[in-house]
């Protein structure tokens, strides 16, 4: 089209041009899709082989498992979303409609996270009286690793615990992860911490315990404010009172967990 079309024929020309552009575009798109599809299927089969080849490592090594899960996440395969559709053909493996983990590893991975989730729920329930339903992810990991009976310990990473807790979400169980300072906690009683409460818990994390006068001094709070926050935490069972010192001290029960009593 070196020269500009004139007259009525130009209209026909323009439609033709648009059409050929469109077909060319469609062609390009389809070849592109086709090549992407091949790439994806190649990748999936590679991932499949990789998972099968390293399945024992994935199951036994928490760091490796976390890395593998992260890799899956990056390429848009969410092992957890897949875990939640675990269903009818659970064990049968490669059948269609099974979850991602089921397809590549015969259901073992699902079972793994469900087992961790069950342990976490058990632990939260057992310790709810002593810690008011707030338990550190790290403490939780230690306990799951130790297990209750001999040989029942599970080698898990914090990442596994977090995944397991997230896998409980669809059940509407009220289990959630909260951040206080630098630490992550599992909250098993659905209740919000307000900023003041979170701040006090953070202080306890650092110092081991708090008292009203410590809060007044360090945070410039008025006495009433400090007392209210502490009373609230006490009422929720999140701190324990020690009244045998010169001033009442409030301690976090997070370190009690090793006690199986």
């Amino acid at each position: 089209m070196s020269r500009r079309g004139v007259g009525l024929g130009a209209f026909a020309n323009r439609t033709q041009a648009t059409q050929s552009f469109a077909t060319h575009g469609a062609n390009l798109r389809s070849t592109h899709t086709a090549s992407l599809q091949t790439q994806l299927s190649v990748f999936q089969s590679l991932l499949h082989t990789f998972a099968l080849e390293h399945s024992s490592t994935i199951k036994s090594n928490p760091t490796f498992r976390a890395e593998f899960a992260r890799m899956c996440n990056t390429i848009g395969v969410d092992p957890l979303a897949a875990s939640n559709v675990k269903g009818k053909n659970g064990r049968r493996g490669l059948g269609e409609g099974g979850s991602f983990w089921t397809q590549i590893m015969g259901g073992d991975m699902n079972d793994f996270y469900f087992e961790v989730a069950v342990r976490v729920v058990e632990l939260c329930r057992d310790t709810r009286d002593e810690n008011g339903g707030l338990i550190g992810v790290e403490e939780c990991r230690k306990r799951v690793r130790k297990g209750k009976a001999i040989g029942s310990g599970l080698e898990v990473s914090e990442d596994d615990i977090l995944r397991a807790v997230r896998s409980l979400e669809p059940l509407g169980s009220g289990f959630s992860i909260v951040h206080v300072g630098s630490k992550q906690y599992i909250r098993s009683i659905p209740k919000e911490l307000n900023t003041d409460q979170a701040t006090v818990l953070e202080v306890i994390q650092m110092l081991g315990f708090v008292s009203v006068s410590m809060l007044q001094l360090n945070l410039n709070w008025e006495k009433a404010r400090a007392q209210t926050v502490i009373d609230d935490l006490l009422a929720d069972g999140l701190v324990w009172l020690d009244a045998q010192g010169p001033e009442k001290e409030y301690w976090s029960p997070q370190n009690l967990l090793d006690d199986s009593g």
Binding site: D129, W240, D242, A243, Q244, L256
Partner: protein, 198 residues
């Protein structure tokens, strides 16, 4: 403490023992419940370790059990009494510690009789001791054999058994459980009872 200590290994305290608030009665009822459970299991394992069957609170409040010298915290007499009182209650009906303790009525402390000052600590309840006895009798094929209570408690044959050197009254309680179940009969004068298992 009144009872002799037979074991030489030191008692390992649970982590709770080094948690200062453990020694203050918790104002929150849920927390309190958890605290009482922890005290109950600590008292039971302490008594088991030291083979203590009757615990005199007046004596115990100054022992390491109720007095953490390192932390300078202690459970005072009234508080220790509250814990043991909780242990004596039934688990379901009264929300207590499952009858892991029992007050000894009319026991005297320092000459004058005081209620709720001495208690049996049932790290094994008499019924549970009865089961232990029956197991031992079965394992050693002594059904139908007549034994004296002294033999059971002090005899050479029972040295390896948990009930060796046991408080005589506890042994009699356990035997009485078996009598009620029709598994044994006790005869003879007080102090020199004999027992036959069937």
């Amino acid at each position: 403490m009144a009872t002799s200590t037979t074991t030489t290994t030191p008692f390992t305290f649970p982590p709770t023992y080094n948690f200062p608030p453990f020694f203050t009665p918790q104002p929150n009822s849920t927390t309190r419940h958890s605290q009482l459970q922890k005290w109950s299991s600590l008292i039971q394992s302490w008594c088991r370790h030291h083979r203590t069957y009757r615990l005199s609170l007046v004596d115990a409040v100054d022992s390491p059990l109720f007095h953490n010298a390192a932390l300078r915290k202690r459970l005072d007499l009234a508080e220790a009494r509250a814990v043991v009182d909780w242990m004596t209650k039934k688990e379901e009906e009264e929300g207590g510690g499952g009858q892991r303790a029992e007050w000894i009525e009319g026991a005297s402390a320092g000459g004058n009789a005081m209620p709720k000052s001495v208690a049996w600590i049932w790290w094994r309840r008499p019924e549970e001791w009865a089961d232990v006895l029956v197991d031992w009798i079965d394992a050693t094929g002594q059904r139908g054999v007549v034994l004296t209570v002294f033999e059971l408690v002090q005899g050479e044959a029972t040295v390896s058994q948990e009930f060796h050197g046991m408080d005589n009254d506890v042994m009699m309680k356990a035997l009485n459980v078996l009598v009620k179940r029709g598994k044994a009969s006790v005869f003879g004068n007080e102090g020199e009872e004999g027992v036959k298992f069937f």
